[in-house]
Symmetry: C2
Subunit: 205 residues, 2 copies
Amino acid sequence: MPNRRPKTRIQQKNSEAILEAALEVFSQAGFRGATLDQIAERAGLSKPNLLYYFPSKEAIHAELIKGLLQVWLDPLRALDAGGDPLAEILGYMRRKLELSRDFPRESRLFANEVLQGAPRVEGALQEELKPLVDEKAAVIGAWVQAGRLAPVDPHHLIFSIWATTQHYADFDVQVRAVLGPGHDPFAEAERFLTTLYTGSLCPRG
Amino acid sequence: MPNRRPKTRIQQKNSEAILEAALEVFSQAGFRGATLDQIAERAGLSKPNLLYYFPSKEAIHAELIKGLLQVWLDPLRALDAGGDPLAEILGYMRRKLELSRDFPRESRLFANEVLQGAPRVEGALQEELKPLVDEKAAVIGAWVQAGRLAPVDPHHLIFSIWATTQHYADFDVQVRAVLGPGHDPFAEAERFLTTLYTGSLCPRG
DNA sequence: GTCTATACTCTGATAGAC
DNA sequence: GTCTATCAGAGTATAGAC
């Protein structure tokens, strides 16, 4: 069994190839729908060789999820209590939208997981996601209290940003089927969502 | 093999039990994650007996999807070009939110499908969903042109309603994990989304 | 119409040669 | 470290008795 931190270049390279292939397959088929055969083929390895690098299918998936959550939370962490309220919220929306655009597979991997009851991430939701969201919701709530933002439920505002931005990654097929060719969904989404949140969050008397 | 339209009461009852069980299992595990064993057990039938009513796993899934799409489109069909613009859009949002609240399994079944590339519904998206959305987007666009609604991209407005309302069904686990106990996510969502869309869509000079 | 038994395939994982 | 061969179990589907 290889060490936790692969040392040789070959090990490094193969580990990365496996995780890359696994991301592709898991995100498209879900945990149970994915097969080691598919992952091995994409990674250019035999199935037993793949299982030399990771002890099980579960372990590959866990490794992907582990690396993912942090990246996923970064945009919210960057929400700055000292900044301009509307600009901070629009900035958060944009960062989430960029993640959806640049890392759609990661978004779908996560969506698959939560959609099926989050059996492998429920702990992380409770211990990492909830505290961070509560903290940032308090920041938004304080902005509302200070009259710097229109009255709004902070938690549901955050939910709506998640929903609207991740929609373009998770339901990409549907979005493109409805829009037809000749569209740039993400660019259009940025304009639309900027309008949506600006109109709704600007304080007025 | 039974006829297309089951005739006896037993056939009727068993067919319904199978579809009910299949909805539960497919929505929670996805197509490949679901097994006939699980469906048969929930339906109170043996596995071969289940396959007496439906020729294959695929056929059960197809039957569910077929019945689903119509129900899913009804709220949008009800959007009335002759009504008050904001009231019509808020009404649409509310009907979608009620679907998420009352039929979360149906929402997750559909989400699972689209998330994995919509292999079994892509045709329906093109032939049924797109024309309907285009028609209603034109209605919204006309409202904007007439100055009865703030300027907004109609297609992306519809996407945002889908995303924000279905989020409460599809990501239910996450929403509840973040909110903690003592919340009614759907009631809170209705208030929040009413504020969000009212603030953003009211025309102002 | 419903059951028991089973055929056959796929899949995750292991053994052991090189 | 990588491969061929293979196992054991799960899963879909069918045969055939009742």
